[in-house]
Symmetry: C2
Subunit: 551 residues, 2 copies
């Protein structure tokens, strides 16, 4: 895997641009008052960063080098900066400013579980801090050491544990090393005819171990399940020894240890391997576009689809604001108007049809051809019942191709002088309309308080029996009157607080880290916090493992 | 709910008998050498039990009576005996012998969460032990106080918290009090057109809170999910206050607190309420019988059914031994021979068909008529591919009617002088054939060691993507040469040890309690035990809540 940009998302040779999207510049100008053609800000040059000397006692360095080999123990400045944080908006802004925080003192790259055991032993013996590092895409602050941390901080990069070890074709289970990146994992599985089917937005730059440590969800999780559903067996190097959970399909061995590791964000140990569900690469796979007359109809349709007799792989629908944004980022924004379809013409031309309220959805299907055909038909009926219309595979194909590019937009906006970020949550179906309204009002209120222009948009990203995930994106141009990160906090906090005040959760799939920690007690209640803290204190009494995260 | 028999399973007016099952007597005689027509043993009379005086300080009694009212605080001998244990084979045998163990000192029946909070406060203030009691059907020893317990033991009977509080029809979620029994729960939900769809063998005598506390599974869990999947929001009275988890469909708030309460067997607090998935009562519901030429073909068919494009509600198939037993317990055991079906005649008459190897399966379907029709067709194809044959709805209807009667057999066998019990587990599909063979060999070995005649049978009871639950039943006549419970331990332990030695789990849905505690560390590994213990120690530092269970 190529390293990420130290100051931003993804590969050096990829960036988002408005140049091939004629409608985007005018859209951003109109909504945010931002001129996309002039660069407002750039990251400082790397050689201007003030990199402090690492605090690494020669004895500890010696033990670490003995454990993994000298060339796997790095105190190089770029390595340390790359492993200092994840990719939250706060991380991007601070790195771009040259505020690099508490760097890890050393980055170490083990290649085996035994080496990881040796590293952890050495760290505990010298009371050092260990922070496991997968792809570094956390947007919840799960990777950063506390500025007040005086102990040696070791970033353990799992990137060399990158192999699918075996596939049990009978059980449809694969043993996979935790450091493997999404694309390599799928490539190795696909070569044997299998897929994990887990495609978070960060897919290209994140790892299996990271997904497990943060309880991630992917774009096809409606069919394949969240990572919590996909993960069965686990191997975790902990201060109390090697933690093993068996890859059994279900068990009643008391409180689920598997579910304690899921979402533990490095606080319990280093995940080295997981046994995960795999499925045969489907014979047929398609994502269709749908239009709905409004947000209420969109939610109702998705809710009925989740009632249990159909099994789509993707259920996603954007609110009117995100639908408008979506059309503005097309290379051919007038596409919809030029679709040669009488049905679409009639649909858009209906007297009561309000293009401003229109919502664009995507529903995906996977499996045998017969299965896909049957599912499409069943979903089509439900969609029509809610006034929706299928607009075919074109928009879905486009979505499918562009789906991993979205995170690049934040760097682009920062170059333009604007902030963009996301907050996502989940709630019961009945709570979604009010939750949505409350978040819109909260964001608007925050924009007004700050006197900034902002844009908020949303999509439903995952459907479940009893509710769904709402994924909000907000953008604004900081006022320039104070610290722009404080203005960001005002908006982000208003949205997060609205989540927990509206019966929703602080995050559906981004984890807690430090960004969301202040809402944890409101979400899981004070005794819930006692339980989580008991786990960490019980297994890691010296607080050597990624301290300060979650609680 | 009527009280259970103090010495056995279920209602006083229901018992199992061979009298309407002409083939059963000869079957039991042949396989176990036991004569079912003569009563070998009966429970001692209740008035012969030696009931010790309760240890309940007047001050504590006063506080408890103030909390719930005097008539809700009982020290009656029958109440104390009924709340002393669950219904494991060991519990039945000891109770029948008059060995009633460490009775609770007092049984208390709160009617509200506030009363439960007051009870727990009082218990903590006086360092008493609290054991939550639902239906008392645990077969894992989760309800019994330690014989060495010197503190006052309070059994908190949740039976008065028996209401469905509300149904959120939009979210398909119901708020339900934890003490409700299965039949009442379904009745209350059905009246509004809903069902939980959770039908464990103990359904008639167990409660929602008990299902959650032990991670139970039901007969239709293939469709509805295990109780862990059905349960979203929880309210739990704990020593650290009221624990609340939000009824959100998915969340990434660190290690799952919801999954810590599931399976906690009373060690974290008293579950008062849960918000659970409900579904519309299906328009159509049917269970069909299938025959398979052998066990290997049966497993392979179930495995293919679980591949993801069909959604049966029940997948169950018996091994040849259980198939034979099943036919022996029919009121008309020759039924199969008299079925007027050319297909069945041809099937059974095939030259290579071995009736001794034949396996009887049940597959259930629920939903709209169209859905059920489509599912039956798809499943039929898979079954045929593995040499199976559908034998229609008759056997399935019979199974559906008798499904909750099975637990009565143990009392019947005890009357005949024989022991019968169950051990169930789950493992990946690839491990099932070897696991099965190992258990058969282990049981046979144990029977031989003891010099007793025994019978072992098995069914696959739940299918998952990556594996299944195997449910073993074993019966034997104790030798009479020593303590029959020690002989039972020899067999039960041989089977349990084989589970963990074969990559399976100590239990799929019966919990840990005290019966399975000695295999916990082998199953979840030593650090897993540290984690579980940390939860209990962290939330309940005085070990007042059902101490000694699980770990």
């Amino acid at each position: 895997m190529d390293a990420m940009k130290w100051w931003g998302w993804g590969r050096e040779d990829i960036s988002f641009t408005h140049e091939d999207k004629p409608a985007l510049g005018p859209f951003v100008k109109r909504e945010l008052g931002v001129d996309v053609t002039s660069v407002a800000s750039r990251p400082v040059a790397f050689d201007q960063l003030k990199i402090p000397e690492p605090s690494l006692a020669p004895a500890l360095r010696g033990v670490l080098e003995e454990a993994v080999g000298g060339d796997r123990v790095s105190t190089e400045p770029l390595d340390r900066v790359l492993h200092a944080r994840g990719k939250s908006l706060r991380d991007l802004v601070r790195h771009r400013r040259g505020d690099i925080g508490r760097l890890p003192d050393v980055v170490i790259r083990p290649g085996t579980e035994e080496e990881i055991e040796a590293i952890l032993r050495a760290a505990l013996d010298s009371d050092a801090v260990v922070i496991p590092f997968g792809g570094g895409t956390s947007i919840s602050g799960s990777l950063e050491a506390s500025v007040s941390e005086r102990r040696t901080v070791i970033s353990v990069d799992l990137g060399r544990l990158d192999r699918v070890l075996s596939v049990d074709a009978t059980s449809r289970l694969a043993r996979v090393q935790a450091g493997v990146f999404g694309p390599s994992l799928e490539e190795q599985l696909n070569a044997q005819g299998w897929t994990l089917g887990h495609f978070p937005d960060s897919f290209a730059h994140s790892t299996l171990g990271g997904w497990i440590a943060t309880r991630s969800s992917g774009m096809q999780s409606d069919r394949y399940g969240d990572i919590a559903d996909l993960t069965r067996g686990l191997r975790v190097v902990t201060p109390a020894g090697l933690l093993l959970t068996r890859p059994v399909p279900s068990t009643s061995t008391g409180p689920s240890v598997r579910e304690m590791v899921l979402g533990s964000e490095g606080r319990l140990g280093i995940i080295t391997e997981a046994t995960v569900h795999v499925r045969r690469v489907p014979a047929c796979r398609t994502i269709l576009g749908y239009l709905f007359p409004g947000w209420a109809e969109s939610l109702a349709a998705m809710r009925d689809i989740a009632a249990g007799e159909v099994m789509p792989s993707v259920t996603r629908v954007s609110d009117p604001n995100e639908t408008r944004f979506s059309f503005a980022t097309r290379k051919d924004p007038s596409m919809l108007d030029r679709v040669k379809s009488k049905a679409l013409e009639a649909y858009l031309g209906r007297r009561d049809f309000d293009r401003e309220a229109m919502c664009l959805g995507f529903i995906g299907y996977e499996g045998s051809e017969r299965h896909v055909r049957a599912q499409r038909k069943l979903v089509g009926r439900i969609v029509r019942r809610h006034g929706g219309l299928c607009i075919g595979a074109g928009p879905g194909t486009l979505y499918d191709q562009k789906k991993f590019d979205t995170p690049y937009i934040r760097d682009y906006l920062l170059d333009c002088g604007a902030f963009g970020d996301v907050s996502e949550t989940a709630a019961p179906w009945s709570a979604l309309p009010t939750l949505y309204g409350n978040v819109v009002a909260a964001a608007r209120g925050a924009f007004e308080t700050l006197g900034v222009r902002g844009y908020l948009m949303c999509h439903l990203s995952h459907s479940y029996h009893a509710g769904a995930c709402l994924y909000f994106t907000f953008t604004f141009e900081p006022s320039g009157r104070g610290d722009s990160l404080e203005e960001y906090d005002t908006i982000k906090s208003a949205i997060q607080q609205t989540f927990v005040d509206s019966g929703a959760t602080l995050s559906h799939h981004h984890g807690v880290g430090t960004e969301h920690a202040s809402w944890l007690e409101q979400d899981i209640s004070p005794p819930g916090v006692v339980l989580v803290r008991s786990l960490f204190d019980g297994l890691d009494p010296g607080a050597n493992l990624n301290p300060g995260k979650i609680v």
